[in-house]
Subunit: 359 residues, 2 copies
């Protein structure tokens, strides 16, 4: 049986201790400086306060200052820090990794340079680690569709593990796979990470469906409508699927990666709820993004942040002639809403290409 | 301004009078022998009893015996009869169509011959019409994603009109398109109809997500669960997207037709609710399909019927070596559940090909 050390003790990192523990493995959770209370709680009561569940038997928790102790004798590392802390996590790992270790990362998002060139977070993470160690460590990533709490309580979940090293992926799959946590592997790392990041952008838009309905009902004085607003959501979801495939083509990944779990499946589960959809809903009711965000103080919004990163990159890529201005109309509108505080006004007629399917 | 005659007065056929009326067109609804009470109600009160809404100004209703009167002087025909009545509708049209007329059809489903060869419903419809008339009429079809009632109350809706005759599609688009009803056209008629039919099959499976959660909570005694069952639904949705693309390949359609509104978008909206999802939910709780169906007497279940047609065809196609036995594992399981009354036991490990995306 193996031991894993996890940097970051957020809900997804902690939830993944469930399939690992089911397979008899031991997990050491190391909190970041922001996770102090989480680690305190797990050490005292065994309960993760955000996940609202007891961590599995055999899972132990360490404050950041005890990281070196947690990493002792362990060569399997999960980077569980979210998209805002990837550079920080890489810097920490720089001092903790040794040749021969294996890293698997959870953060979902994108970074862009000042020319608008997009990069995936596993690359950002590994770049913080000195080359002589980096090249002797394998780097993999876990992609959805998985809501963390559902994994923690043994709901059936099908996920993709992605990376360049198939042997490392096979090893991770064997460690994690159980009767309820089902794992597929894919070496299109960039494509899988691109799907995991952009689905967060498009799920923000899924909230518009609920928000615009609320606004329409308020305007009409109806309280219990006969008919809701799913046609609207279906159209946004359809356009999201087309744009996600176009992102794959732009970054020279396999366009097929959008199909199945990592693209369309993950966009589905993310559109069903969560913080991003909540803010998108508020914006759909007629608030500006700034007003909506002010109603959710202290809440991290990875989807909205990703919209700004990708939307700004898209502007630069369009100026440079890399992307034609008629491509990505939904992402461009999401950027207007989130990055420029404009009202929701979905540009339907610009969607779906000529045939309704992106062509 | 144009006049359209509609054979069949179901909720979708009637809802489409809304965009037509908004564009100043006149609609004549002709009820089938099963629609007698609907037509009575519209004639007396203007209200469609199933849609629970007043039909638009200018919409008139005719009993079946007055069909010839309704068709007088009209050359735009909508076949609004559902999938169970397509042959009947074709026989009626055989006596009512004249060369130069244009037909657009709504029914969604498939037919198969005794070799398992699948065919789309517009073909079934037109085959009932004598060749000399059939060839001098254009045949088009309307595909989703659109919940009828939402169209009737002006919710934003994006749909695909499909057919072999681009000029006819352009004409229909101009008749229907409004500020809220947005139309794309696609000449991959077989592909679009295949998506519209199979999405009903897969939406039945979407109910399993809710039903299995209910069963799990009953077994555990929980009433207000912290975490529901979206990962399960996302995985089914992901596999549905892969199989819908495989159906396109099998029938030599464009695999891209699954993207956007007619495939993925329509599967999304259909998975959000309706009769099929309700039966799927009951089955997910542990009932057999027969038991679940008995709880919904008099309700037509187009999705379940399509599962039987396609599932039986799939068996024959597999026996004939046309389809490999490992393809379409979700549809095969849906057939076990609906056609053979077996319990839900999703074969997760057979899904998603090797890489999670169908390859």
């Amino acid at each position: 049986m193996a031991t894993l050390v996890v940097l970051g003790s957020g809900i997804m990192a902690t939830a993944l201790a469930t399939p690992l523990a089911d397979n008899g493995h031991t997990v050491r959770l190391v909190g970041t400086h922001l996770d102090r209370e989480i680690i305190d709680s797990i050490q005292k009561t065994g309960i993760h306060p955000n996940l609202k569940l007891k961590v599995p038997e055999g899972t132990t928790a360490y404050q950041l200052e005890d990281a070196a102790e947690a990493f002792e004798g362990v060569d399997l590392v999960m980077s569980g820090v979210n998209s805002f802390g990837v550079e920080w996590a890489g810097e920490q790992l720089a001092g903790l990794l040794r040749p021969g270790m294996h890293v698997i990362a959870l953060a979902k998002g994108m970074r862009a340079d000042d020319q608008g060139n997009l990069d995936i977070l596993p690359n950002v993470l590994m770049r913080q680690v000195p080359e002589e160690v980096r090249d002797q460590v394998t780097w993999s990533a876990i992609a959805g569709p998985s809501i963390a709490g559902e994994v923690a309580v043994h709901r059936h979940t099908c996920v993709t593990f992605a990376g360049k090293d198939q042997a490392a992926l096979d090893m991770w799959k064997e460690l994690f796979e159980t009767d309820f946590y089902h794992v597929w592997t894919n070496t299109d790392l960039t494509g899988i990470e691109l799907m995991a990041a952009t689905k967060n952008c498009y799920a923000f838009g899924a909230g518009f469906m609920h928000g615009t309905l609320t606004r329409m009902l308020e305007e009409s004085g109806e309280s219990d409508p006969l008919y809701v607003n799913y046609n609207y959501g279906a159209a946004l979801f359809g356009q999201a699927s087309i744009e996600m495939q176009e992102w794959l083509q732009l970054l020279e990944c396999d366009p097929q990666t959008v199909m199945g779990i990592a693209g369309i499946g993950d966009c589905f589960v993310t559109s069903m709820g969560g913080r991003n959809v909540k803010v998108g809903t508020l914006v759909g009711t007629g608030m500006t993004f700034s007003e909506a965000k002010a109603q959710m103080p202290g809440v991290t919004l990875e989807g909205a942040t990703c919209i700004v990163v990708v939307g700004e990159a898209l502007k630069k890529l369009t100026e440079r002639g890399v992307v034609p201005p008629e491509q990505f109309p939904l992402l461009r509108h999401l950027y207007e809403v989130v990055g420029e505080d404009k009202p929701v006004d979905v540009p339907w007629k610009t969607f779906f290409g000529q045939h309704g399917d992106g062509r």
